[in-house]
Structures are given as C-alpha cells and as structure tokens.
C-alpha cells in the first residue's frame, strides 16, 4: 500500500537525516526543516508517484527533495536538489499564463504535476477531471498524447509514457519488496520517539539507537571483532624496489611468521639490501609460492586477477588480510568501509584500509617507512592482482 500523506514528512526526514549522518548531504543541509508535505506529482495514468518537498533555511539554502510514495519506485527518496527554490504557487501561476498564451479560450479548473516521462515533469490541465492540455514544465511545449500502439521499449526523447504501466511485472515486484524493506527500517520501535523533521548530523546519535549507515571492518587478532582489537602492523619497504617483500612480510606477520625482508627477497629473487631489484611482471606466482613454502603449506595462497570489490570484502569479513598489486606496486589490505545509504543514482563510497610500504626506509631501519591509508577510494584505483591466504585446518 502506498504511503499516506501523514507519513511523508517523517519518512522524508529519516531518509534525509541518514544522508546527512553519512555526510552524503553536506553542512548546507544542517538544520533545514522538512515540510509536512509538498507538491504531488502523478504518473501519466493518474497514480500518485511522489511529493516534491521544498527545503529552505532562510536565505542561506534552498532546494527540494522528491519523496516517492508508490512502491514501484523501489526507494522512498528519489532525489535531492539544491541551488534552486521549489515554488509550487509561482509555477502554477506561470503555467496558467502559458496555457492561456497557447490557447486563449482554453477552459480548465485544475492543474496538476505529472511525470510524463519520468522524471521529466509536465503540467496537466484538467476540466472536471479530464485532461484538456499538457505542457512540459519550463519549455511550455505541448506534450503529445499517449501513443495508441506504443512499444514498451526505451521511450523517445519527447514522449508521454507511464512509469507504472510500462514496468515489467517482475521488476515491479522486486521494487515493491525493496521499498517495503526500506520502510521497515524506519518503522522500527527504537525510532518511534525520534523527531526527524529537522535535518541534523546528530539526529541518530542517541543511546540505544543503532542504525547501520555504513559497513566497516578491519582484521582483528581473532575473528570475533567484538572482543578482539584490530591487529595488523605496517612494514616499510627496506629498499625502493621491495614493495612485494614488505607486503609478504606484513601478511605473514599477521599469522605470526617472522621472516624479514632480506630473507623474503632471497626467496623471491629480489636481490639484496645493497643490490635489490623489483619483482618482474609475470612472476606474480612467486608470491603464492613463497607464502605457502615459508608457512610449510599451512597457508593456502591464491592469486586473483583483476579482483573485484567482493574479493576484498569477503576476505576481510573472514578476518584475512590480502596483498594487493596495482600497476608497478604492491601493498596489503586489512580493512574496508562502504556506505549503505546514498543518493539515488550515486555510487556508494567504498574504501580500503591499505597498509602501503611506500615511502621506503632502509635495511638498517626496518621499523620505519610506509603509510596507512584509511581510506583508499576503491573507485579510483586499478587493482591488478589480489593474493589471499587461508589458514588450513585439520
């Protein structure tokens, strides 16, 4: 069942506050009030789709939020706009003038907003409930009627079509489930006393209220994160070409194997402290061989080419660090974070906790060098290989 007008403010408030808490919405949204309701926007078939809620904070901020009320939209929050005020009354006044300019004798007794080609908006002029004209918002061009034999494919650039009627049944069902799931989050009893009608970063910072807005994990001493501290140490590369040796050292240290970099370099043919060399492309298998040999096959190592996010997430969730090769360099990964809530159309932020052996130190100062990167933006890096190591059990 679509959400009622009474629920609009509360639902919009939760969605906007969650985005503020995760800082998807910036400081300019702080203390902006969420109105009780907004402008209703209908589907071409007459179904109420969403409300456009004007957002204002004196002269400092103006924008709007589109809050979906129909389950076929998959999520309640459709869009957040800023930099322009939403003034329904002014638009309706302009729309009436535009209609009279086009058809001087046009008779109508109401105007409503229609997503004639979602999310493009038009104004529908009605006389006793029947459409007499539809003009596209802003251009005031007449929108053609619904094609009688419309193919259910991609609509053309300027065509009227129904979001609800054109949606395949299985997609509609999946979206309905997704919408209800989201509604259920905000309907939890713990949130019942919360007032979300003003956007504030700290709205959810209340005792006994835990809402998972992001998912963050780091490797720990043992898999039970609740009672074990993060447990991973940085090693700087001891020459300017020993990133692989340093990475293998970090991973093996996690499993309490103490091999220093000169020893690991010897194993992987990386030279000596005085005359070092890097690991040539094509010899990535030496990482696997070395980990398995030096752990007496207690660790089962695997090389994964072009690793996707899921590889890192799965390994860290299993409390296992990884070695990550990027073009020309090697580092280790010991954690991740990802936002669970984000603006529609935006990718969520995904970041890796990277123990990077660069900048280098020297063999006389193994305790120095390297940086801890928290977080590396996953979307901006090229991941060539990931090396996993799984402890074998009896």
């Amino acid at each position: 069942m679509p959400i009622s007008v009474k629920q609009v403010q509360r639902l919009a408030g939760f969605e906007l506050n969650a985005l503020r808490a995760t800082q998807v919405l910036g400081e300019e949204f702080e203390k902006v009030k969420v109105p009780r309701t907004g402008t209703p926007v209908y589907d071409v078939n007459g179904t109420l789709l969403f409300y456009r809620l004007p957002l204002r904070l004196g002269r400092a901020f103006s924008g709007y939020a589109d809050l979906g009320v129909h389950e076929a939209l998959a999520e309640p929050l459709l869009a957040v706009g800023m930099g322009g005020a939403w003034d329904e009354r002014a638009i309706l006044k302009e729309a009436a003038a535009a209609a009279r300019k086009r058809r001087r004798l046009l008779k109508f007794n109401s105007i409503r907003f229609v997503a004639y080609s979602f999310p493009k908006l038009a104004l529908q002029y009605l006389l006793d409930g029947r459409e007499v004209l539809m003009l596209e918002w802003k251009t005031w061009t007449e929108v053609p009627p619904l094609a009688s034999q419309r193919q259910q494919q991609e609509p053309s650039n300027f065509e009227r079509w129904s979001l609800i009627d054109d949606m395949p049944a299985e997609i509609k069902r999946a979206r309905l489930r997704s919408f209800k799931k989201r509604q259920a989050i905000w309907a939890t009893p713990a949130l019942s006393r919360l007032d979300p009608t003003v956007i504030m970063k700290k709205t959810f910072d209340l005792p006994k209220i835990v809402i998972k807005l992001k998912d963050t994990r780091e490797v720990h001493y043992a898999p039970r994160a609740a009672d074990h501290h993060p447990c991973y140490e940085l090693r700087g590369q001891q020459t300017n070409v020993w990133c692989v040796a340093a990475s293998v050292e970090m991973l093996m240290n996690f499993y309490r194997y103490q091999y220093d970099q000169p020893r690991l370099a010897q194993e992987m043919d990386l030279g000596t402290c005085a005359v070092p060399n890097g690991l040539p492309y094509g010899q990535e298998h030496k990482v696997v061989d070395t980990i398995e040999k030096l752990s007496s096959n207690t660790l089962n190592a695997t090389a994964i080419v072009n690793p996707a996010w899921a590889v890192f997430q799965t390994e860290i969730a299993a409390n296992r660090p990884l070695i990550s090769f990027i073009p020309g360099h090697s580092r280790t990964v010991a954690g991740y974070t990802r936002t669970l809530i984000h603006l529609p159309g935006q990718l969520p932020f995904r970041g890796l906790l990277v123990y990077d052996p660069w900048p280098p130190t020297d063999c006389a100062h193994p305790e120095a060098g390297g940086v801890i990167t928290k977080w590396e933006n996953f979307a901006t890096q090229t991941y060539r290989y990931a090396f996993t190591a799984v402890l074998k059990h009896v």
């Binding site: 800082q23 400081e27 140490e233 940085l234 300017n240 070409v241 020993w242 990133c243 692989v244 060399n277 890097g278 690991l279 040539p280 492309y281 090769f325 990027i326 073009p327 020309g328 360099h329 090697s330 580092r331 990277v354 990077d356 660069w358 900048p359 280098p360 130190t361 020297d362 305790e367 120095a368 060098g369 940086v371 801890i372 990167t373 928290k374 977080w375 590396e376 933006n377 901006t380």
Partner: protein, 161 residues
Amino acid sequence: MADDHEADRIRAHARHLLRDGTIGNTLVATSGHIDAPIAVRAPDGRLHSWFVPVTVGNQLAGFFQFQREGTYLRFSSFARRPGELAGCPAAADWLDPDRIRTRAEVRRRPDETSGTPFLTYDRTPDRLVWAVPLTDAHGGVRLVFVVGETVYAPPPEGTYD
C-alpha cells in the same frame, strides 16, 4: 590563477573532512594543520592530483590526495599507532624544496646542475616522489627521485617495486 583557486577549494575540502571526523584520527583532527596543497604532476607534466599535507608541529603526520577535479583519492597517515607521532617524518623532508634539492645532489655528477624539484610519482600515484631535474653541460636532463631520505634514479618499467 585557476590552479590557485583550485588549490584553495581542495584545501577547504580537506579541512572539512578532517574537522568533521570523517577521515583521520583524533590527534590530526584536533592538532593537525592543513598546509597548502601541492600539485602532483604526471610524468608528462600535466596536473594529476593534489597532495595536501597535514602537519603536527614540525612533523608530517599524513596527507590527503585528491584528483585534479577534487575527487577524494586517499588519506594516508605516517603514524604507526593512532594518536602517536612516532614514525612520522620531518615535514621539511617532504615539503622544503631546498632540502629536497640538496638531498638529490648526492646523485649529481660534477658537470650537472640541479633544477627546481616538482612533486610527481614513480609509475603509480601511490608512489609519490619529488623529481629533481639534473642538467649536464650539453643540456641533457635526467631526473632523480627523492622520497623522504631515499634518493634514487627512476627504475625501469615492468616490475612491482
């Protein structure tokens, strides 16, 4: 001028991320000073990204790196433990062009003169280095990389270093 304007915007963005607690730890959030962003040049000289140092006293605690148009790349910390500065290099090692140039001169041949250092990277933007051009008597130029106290010649392609 466009670069200056961009640098101001990047610096404000870094300050916001740090003060907001989104990135970094309590020590850098409360005591860290965001220094002026430094342009990171690609090997062909184009602006690649921005390096934004975060100093505490005279130590470099960490740095941000943003893509040229402002997309966040990373925040990296030299501190080995949260709240401690042990292991953090002297800020001048990374930020003082004169010191970097002097350091590069250990690799200068008698007929070479050193030029102005510029921040770049050794093959991958993760490996930030200062490049110091050394010009010989015939006008030939070669680069020497300086990163902290390490000085080296650019290595060949085709290896993980």
